[in-house]
Subunit: 307 residues, 2 copies
């Protein structure tokens, strides 16, 4: 059995799309068309962030169409597998494929295509799927997938980076005509760090995900910057936006992508658990997170353990 | 991140092991050793059935060591992903990898290697994993994996068969030194159909799985035969064993592998739903299932729908 070729399938990543979610939707939609003759459309659950827009402009692509709910009976998820991060009507449609690199919380009524690998980005997984299926990757899609690896691994420096990511990035950069992926990557990452034109609310929610730690609701947002202290000058603004967002707990991680460090602003009742998780004191709602750059590998696991 | 190379990992399939579960445990254990330098041991949750024993004998292999509970901190599951079909202490260990082709009901605390594809057998999935990783498959393991494809797809005739199964079987048969996989396959399947030496209890439970259909417990067993009516001569024996097994409902599917038909004996309170599922009447506890050979594709889905 392959994916049933019944009708068009929407392919999309998570809410608050980042570069990996957008690039992987494009890559998976193309892969499914070429490898399995599926009619697919890559869509997004939101507009591109500044980093993704930089990549789209660089490779001459339009942003993906934004949907609020899935309009087809069958969908393919990329870069997420949990309802909380997906379209509102996910329960009403059938998920027939998943390409992801997160923890798994998923049930299906039937056997489906589900590929989850603990690699730096979904783009890495897709790169190898293209190789297996011997499908050439179009230049612009290769460029987006390369950008996704750079974005998710902070140019291969994040602890989420695996030994499979560098060869994938090198292969994709070549296919995309990027001569020096380090130079391109620094420009891409910096494009995502111009925070001055964005409101506090946009920043706390731009790359935010909701978690449930043993019944305690946590919203965890993250921004990349090249100057944490400069970003922290807007702390009062962020705190007001975090309180207004009305989550039980809100942790806003500000990450210095040049020096691979973070500080986080915390608002909520579970301060003791936050201090326990990171073995550090909150001072004026701010906790120092030296060496932390990855929410998935360095923020969520200690919080999970603390609860 | 790859599988953490901390200690030995047990690799095992489901309870009541069939040929795909045994062969895939062997194949995945070898793949993980060669591709990721993991220390692994393929084990089983039971002794081989007659078909699997035929393949083991043919390729000069000993049966896998039988375990009752997982003895290592980390395990890899093949051919199942649900607790109900696994070791009793699954909650006490960490699942770090899954290779499967069933419906999914799984959660993990971390990103893991999880490859589920709707292909005819897990052996097919593993064959392509070996290709991707450019690892040569030892002759005996190739033979077991070829046997698993033959077993799960009834020599490529079951509706679970996909377009990826035949090339995998052909490639594995070649690696195993099987010149005529059709001839070998018929002998393998027939080896599994000598039911005369096995007790009714062994037969109803030899390839049985438990399901929950909207709160209704179902045990579904299956045997392959070359003569359904001959097997049905032992109906009273089977009914007694099914009642003694004390499941809420028990459906025992007897499948003619030569003509691709089944009849099933049913014991339990939910007869109306069984009749509804298969649009057929139970007569003396027996329902005719023309064209049915696959529990996964042709028995479980209509029962799911009926409840």
């Amino acid at each position: 059995m392959e994916l049933k070729n019944m009708a068009k399938k929407l392919v999309f990543g998570h809410q608050n799309p980042d570069t990996d979610t957008i690039a992987s939707a494009m890559g998976a939609a193309y892969l499914l068309q070429e490898a399995y003759h599926e009619e697919t459309e890559a869509v997004a659950l939101g507009t591109p962030n500044a980093e993704t827009q930089y990549a789209l402009d660089y490779f001459g692509l339009n942003p993906l169409r934004v949907i609020e709910k899935a309009e087809t009976e069958e969908v393919v998820l990329v870069d997420h597998n949990e309802k909380a991060q997906s379209v509102a009507n996910l329960d009403d449609v059938e998920v027939v494929g998943v390409y992801d690199h997160h923890k798994i919380n998923f049930t299906s009524a039937n056997p489906i295509w589900f590929t989850n690998k603990p690699l730096g980005s979904v783009a890495t997984i897709l790169y190898y799927e293209f190789q297996v299926n011997q499908i050439e990757i179009p230049k612009a899609i290769a460029g987006m997938l390369a950008s996704a690896i750079i974005s998710d691994t902070l140019l291969l420096k994040s602890p989420t980076t695996t030994k499979l990511d560098q060869p994938a990035l090198a292969g994709l950069a070549k296919a995309a005509g990027i001569d020096d992926y380090e130079a391109y990557g620094m420009n891409l990452l910096k494009a995502g760090t111009d925070l001055s034109q964005r409101t506090a609310r946009e920043l706390i929610d731009g790359d935010a995900k909701s978690f449930d730690f043993n019944g305690h609701e946590f919203r965890i947002g993250q921004v990349n910057t090249v100057d944490i202290e400069d970003t922290l000058n807007r702390k009062a603004e962020f705190e007001a936006a975090m309180q207004a967002a009305e989550y039980q707990n809100f942790l806003f991680v500000i990450t210095d992508i040049l020096n691979s460090n973070s500080k986080a602003i915390f608002v909520g009742p579970d301060a003791a658990e936050v201090e326990k998780a990171f073995d550090a004191k909150l001072e004026n709602n701010v906790v120092d997170l030296p060496g932390v750059v990855s929410r998935k590998k360095q923020v969520v696991p200690p919080l999970t353990a603390a609860f």
